[in-house]
Point group: C2
Chain length 141, copies 2
Amino acid sequence: MKLNTKTRYAVMALADMSNFPRKKPVSLRDISLRQSISLLYLEQIFLKLKKNNLVKSIRGTNGGYILNKDPKEIKLSEIFLAIDEKVKTVGCTKESKKGCNGKSTKCITHDLWDELELHINTFFEKKKLSDLAKINQNKIQ
Amino acid sequence: MKLNTKTRYAVMALADMSNFPRKKPVSLRDISLRQSISLLYLEQIFLKLKKNNLVKSIRGTNGGYILNKDPKEIKLSEIFLAIDEKVKTVGCTKESKKGCNGKSTKCITHDLWDELELHINTFFEKKKLSDLAKINQNKIQ
DNA sequence: TCAATACTTGACTATTTTAGTCGGGTATAT
DNA sequence: ATATACCCGACTAAAATAGTCAAGTATTGA
Ligand code: FES
Ligand code: FES
């Protein structure tokens, strides 16, 4: 069970942006340098964020991206959704109308995994971008 | 973020076993048939469960596996540990003493992911095998 | 005794996912 | 004009996943 880099970088980049004034565009180049994330990768990530209206882009010299909302209003769950990252603990898909066992009934673990999924998603619903912007960067030990 | 089949099957198989009397060995063949899990795959999974003392094996005809503890005592976290499945939301490793950014300081998202990891692991600590044994198997909708 | 059952172990593999890169754009400020 | 910076689809190497396979060993019951 792990989180992919795309999602981690997306949150990291947006958190980086939220440390600066809202109005001024932040370039991906700057984010790339500050956060040590590949610029090319960031471009890919920000296209998704833009399509999902989390950021607005400004082209040309001194361009960059600006946050579309106040960091206090941006839920982590929105970022996950934009990046198309889903928490998937159940083995079945709701579309197929079949259990992970291929039968028409739920398997004996289904409700457990469903509960876990809810537990995790609730975390992302409650967490806002503003909650992690000013976190202090202690040394790793 | 998803859960792998090995862990899901491990929990499923143990939950299956916990629906039967403790003393009588349950064969993997039976579990395989009841839960629609590949027998060969189950063998691989149970070797791990055995090495971690969650089950005891009995060879030969009418052999199988028996639970080493009461389902009320078996935490999901123990099963995860046995299967070697870890919840890993941070991008860094604690061993390297470096952040996911390669620097000696934590990245701005580290504490968030750490909190999430704790949140998920707490769930597994609280959940017991007995909590899901008798769950009703409703139709998928 | 001996065949069938069922656990044991390590190696192997196809498929999928991940974590990016690459190339060739377009828009804008100075 | 030219440098900056966003835009977009396609591509790819490497890793992880989800198993299978071969070749055992131990035990029981007929
Ligand atoms: S996880 Fe949904 S049926 Fe098994
Ligand atoms: S997740 Fe630990 S330093 Fe980034």
